[in-house]
Symmetry: D2
Subunit: 389 residues, 4 copies
């Protein structure tokens, strides 16, 4: 468990960082929601404040709610907390304005910092929620990056935002290598009771893995280009049935943000439209595309257990890596009590686990046992592929 | 036809007025599109500028297009002019910013005023398009009012905007009266070749009307409240089949912007949420509701021909009045050549004609032969009811 | 009003005829509903029986309902009569079987004939409903033909049914001619109080028509082929906006039942797939296609009033002819009391009037004042085009 | 591998049995498809014949295809085999008739039996496909039962079919018991290379299981009734997020086929509508309902590995049991070559594994390693619940 000083530092830093990510936005950029799963940046800023206000501050004697209608506006999906704006309507709300949301943020930050003055007076439950709140906000920082990219990248003017993210890192100097992992029992899940993890990373438990081989490197753009040029998008036998249907209905024939102009491939980045960087790690593909590519290579995606067992030998952190594993509870999983119990457990069906982290993941939010999860067609995260066999 | 001086005056006034209507908006309010038929105010400001740029300025030698990508963004529905952002996507565009759209407006206004310096050098076709452009922008001024009302009125914070519109005028001092109109041949449609009208108001032609009676007054909120209290929304026999389906699927039980709080009726106005003003003219009802109400009264809606024949004796101008008439071409109708031909003719199916004008209609945009038209379920305009028999 | 003898004759003949139309169906053909607006033949046979049972027999003392659950199954759209199977579910009901429906028909026919024994004992209201019931069943006879054609024509095996309908008559020997009709007041609507008509054909009233010209002949397949070959389906300026959208979304590029095989045009008929008969009257087109064709010819569709004023000089009866007129009430229209009031009035919005009759219309169901109506995209009726100007 | 004699016997028996299941159907029952996932019985009879014709007979020299258009009609989902009728359209095809489909069956059965005369002349690949064909048809026998139940059970006449299935068996005499399974490595998957299994049951591999407890008995109707009466359908915290959405949108408040009449619970069975049998095994629930029930009990569903490890001690076979496991490939999974490769592998995403078997599963189609799979909302199979902890 952190000390009061450590927590105050990370809390203040996290609050500041969320706003910093938005530094180059125009006021207009804060409000739009081009598709249901991309939320307006303004909403993220408000929601991450509401989390602290709703779950911590409102329960403190003497706290005055900033605006009682904000609960309706900034609740995401907590059924136990009350009614809320339907998710698809988030982009229809011009009010509260950006300035007002920033004022809300400032008030919540200040009130929470005030609460932290008396660290020892806080209950373990309060401390726990505060810690979750920081990690929750870090998660939304990643969403801020990817939602900003989607908002600007789907605008006909394809504006420049910033290159500070370094989203397309050069590959490691040595070529791809393969690690062989012997069959045996492996321990999976978060071990250290002193350090933070989400409930879905527990209980630590044993898994038996048969022999497998896994690449130390991520698939690169040039690898995927070969798949495209070989007709990968046109060969139904490479695809899951629903992947094929998804591809056909949505006329998908390349990763998100890729486009061909006069025979040349380009990709939209937060730094604008750029020539496709062939040796950068592939990004913005769905699980369906990841699986079709792996089949085309005559290989497969690793399971999340294989990934975790091998991770110390892998070069990871640039892309969230689709695994073959579905998002289901670990043996001994206990969902958190109250509203926090809605954080993870209720999504444990029909989603795929992604392991690793991406260029948009805050450093303090990365750990080898982290289980990210998305629906198979989702592409707007920095998702990539690692092959196994 | 107007003189150069008259036209410059009305052009400049119209351009200024569109921005004035938006004067109290926050930057965030300019961009949202809560339903497909409500466009972002920013889009209206850009589109009315694009109209002049695309149809007039671009054809003038030496004119430099402000931004070649704006054609894609601000074209509404002109197939003959090229590709465009799908209507439902207008609210997803944070760029161009409001400031940039205002710069676009200023540039288009200035270039057009420049063109008007040499009025006598303009062809009749150019003059005609310029005149249509002004009326087109006035039409969008009304949409600015109704779209702003929808955007703010559907926000959980129900903000105040302005009371300058006077949207709920007090009734005339004398009570409702009925006019009897004798059977006979009436001339319908625009007559004066010197004065502007849309193509759909022509040709002037003869219509035979049987005897009818028509109210000089609009239906008031209190009249409609009686319909509600009598169970009008629950009696299928009062409704058109598709009106009943619309009502049921959308759970409609009151006009748009009405809500009951603790047994008391309120209505949202641009001046905020207010107690329902009983003697104000009813507003924001669909054709289906208008027709069901009329049937409940044992009466009917007038046809557009009855309305025009009687209009001189009617008190009109507060609400667009649903008529029984479908929007179809007059005998001798000729659609305008080129892109302007897409202005009216292509919508002449499955819409109902509304006559009169509303509190949001610019004074210079009102005339007795004006044919407004909307689909039967539309309610966000200031629509009302006049009874006939 | 008919005599008892006349009525018994036409009643018995109508009941017999409905079954005769189905004579060549396989048991399996009776049950399918490939699209919502095409009902299973079995349903038509049951529904036309239910009409007599529900509105006449059930109100006679001593009558025992055949099966109380049939009201739920065979009510079409009468809200005032009670709950019913949703229209789109009609094809999901394998029970009652065809044999059981035929038994139901026989029982209803027999009970009604029994009732007709005492013709003078029947009230005028009863006689009126009985008469409507016969005409109602004749209307469903036409639907039987068109629904059977749709069911078989959309089967990959494109089976032969019968050629007895003569659906593609040869053209009259003389070529197309044009009738000029002078401006003036015309009387429109059903006149003879002694002869049957639907409520929507009344009141007879005066209409002023400007001069117009109308073709005595229907548009032929070869005329429409020229439209196709001239790119009519690709020129947006010929189309209504919603017609263009309909065409695009549904990838329409020819009339229903037309198909091109190895460069040769074929049309499905109840006699199987046949080479397109060039001089047969065009059939199975939507209002949108009719209007686009007329615009391409530089002409227009007549209004229903023009049609009625000119009809005595026209060759009509092979195709239902789309008119420009929307389906709205005549001056002095009175909807029938009770459930019969739901027969016509509640559909008087968003539909187009078709005049004339088709090869599938029973002879006793044809009259110059008849107002048929369908939504603009509907094509499965024998619909055609007559030009005016 | 079976002998020629054994195979001929099981083949002939399987072909006969499919028709026997349909013995009590009326001709009309063979054709309807009330929802997309319920196919017309006629289609099952044809499709299982097409499987043999397409994958075996057509490749034999001298075989004449029964009807070349049947490939289009009876292909289910094999992209590699060609175009086909969209699944949702199966119920719209009145032709081929039932008689014609039975003739098709007879021809295919006879031709295949002819082929089997020369068993030793068949290649291993041919034998393998023939064997799959028999198991494939057995799978469709179960679907015949459940689709017939759906078709009749959703008919307002709720007809009696047969009681021969014994769908609601009485519980075993002893009460529920719990088995404790110790942690350790377990072997999972099909072992015997001589006996048939689907590709998805391989490779046999090792799995480590932590200690767990599992019920020997299935949940009964009375257990689930307690969940309903305790408000289980109204407590969002018991549900997966998408389960809650499914429940709400579809207004689900009881298992499929349950209905309350005058306060008394009934369930539709193939033997007609019957009083709910309290001690029968619960059936016709979705994965979402299964998971919510388990959470309400403070327990969970077993994984498929736990199930297989414990199965010898369990009373199973009455209901397909939802497991927590997602349907993903086993280590070492190899999909079959050619069209058979589309049999299982392409569905390995977004589905849940069900273990065991049901009253509708042919005895020779039941085995402890069998992996059935359905999407979480599916309820029309005989699905049930077994608790674990």
């Amino acid at each position: 468990m952190m000390t009061a000083r450590e927590f105050r530092k990370i809390f203040a830093e996290t609050r500041r960082r969320s706003e910093e990510i938005c530094a180059h936005l125009q006021t207009e950029d804060f409000g739009v929601q081009p598709v249901e799963h991309v939320s307006p940046p303004k909403w993220h800023l408000g929601h991450t404040s509401w989390f602290f206000e709703e779950l911590v501050l409102k329960k403190c004697p003497g706290y005055t709610v900033f605006d009682p209608r904000f609960g309706f506006i900034f609740n995401s999906y907590y059924e136990s907390v009350g009614e809320r704006v339907p998710r698809r309507e988030r982009g229809n709300l011009s009010r509260p304005t950006v300035a007002r949301v920033l004022a809300y943020r400032a008030a919540v930050t200040e009130a929470t910092l005030g609460l932290l003055e008396d660290w020892s007076g806080l209950s373990p439950a309060q401390k726990s929620i505060l810690e979750v709140g920081v990690h929750h906000e870090q998660q939304h920082q990643e969403l801020l990056w990817t939602d900003i990219k989607y908002i600007l990248g789907h605008n006909p003017l394809v504006p420049y935002y910033t290159e500070s993210l370094g989203e397309n890192p050069a590959p490691p100097s040595q070529g791809p290598k393969w690690v062989e992992v012997p069959a045996g029992i492996y321990e999976i899940g978060h071990a250290d009771p002193e350090r933070f993890c989400y409930d879905n990373e527990r209980a630590r438990h044993r898994v038996f893995l048969e022999d497998f081989t896994i690449s130390t490197q991520l698939v690169q753009n040039q690898d995927y280009l070969a798949f495209i040029q070989d007709g990968g998008y046109a060969d139904s036998l490479l695809w899951h049935a629903e992947g094929w249907q998804w591809r056909t209905q949505n006329e998908i024939d390349a990763p998100l943000y890729w486009q061909q102009i006069d025979g040349q491939w380009f990709q939209y980045t937060l730094g604008g439209l750029q020539k496709l960087q062939l040796d950068a790690p592939l990004s913005h593909i769905s699980f369906y595309e990841a699986a079709a590519f792996a089949r085309w290579k005559g290989m497969r995606l690793p399971t999340e257990f294989e990934w975790e067992a091998a991770q110390a030998k892998l070069d990871w952190g640039a892309r969230w890596e689709w695994t073959e594993s579905a998002y289901t509870p670990y043996p001994g999983f206990q969902k958190a009590p109250g509203a926090l119990g809605e954080y993870n457990a209720k999504f444990m069906v029909n989603q795929k686990v992604l392991r690793g982290a991406s260029v948009a993941t805050p450093a303090t939010h990365q750990r080898p046992t982290y289980r990210n999860y998305f629906h198979p067609p989702m592409r707007w995260q920095f998702t990539g592929i690692r092959l196994a066999n």
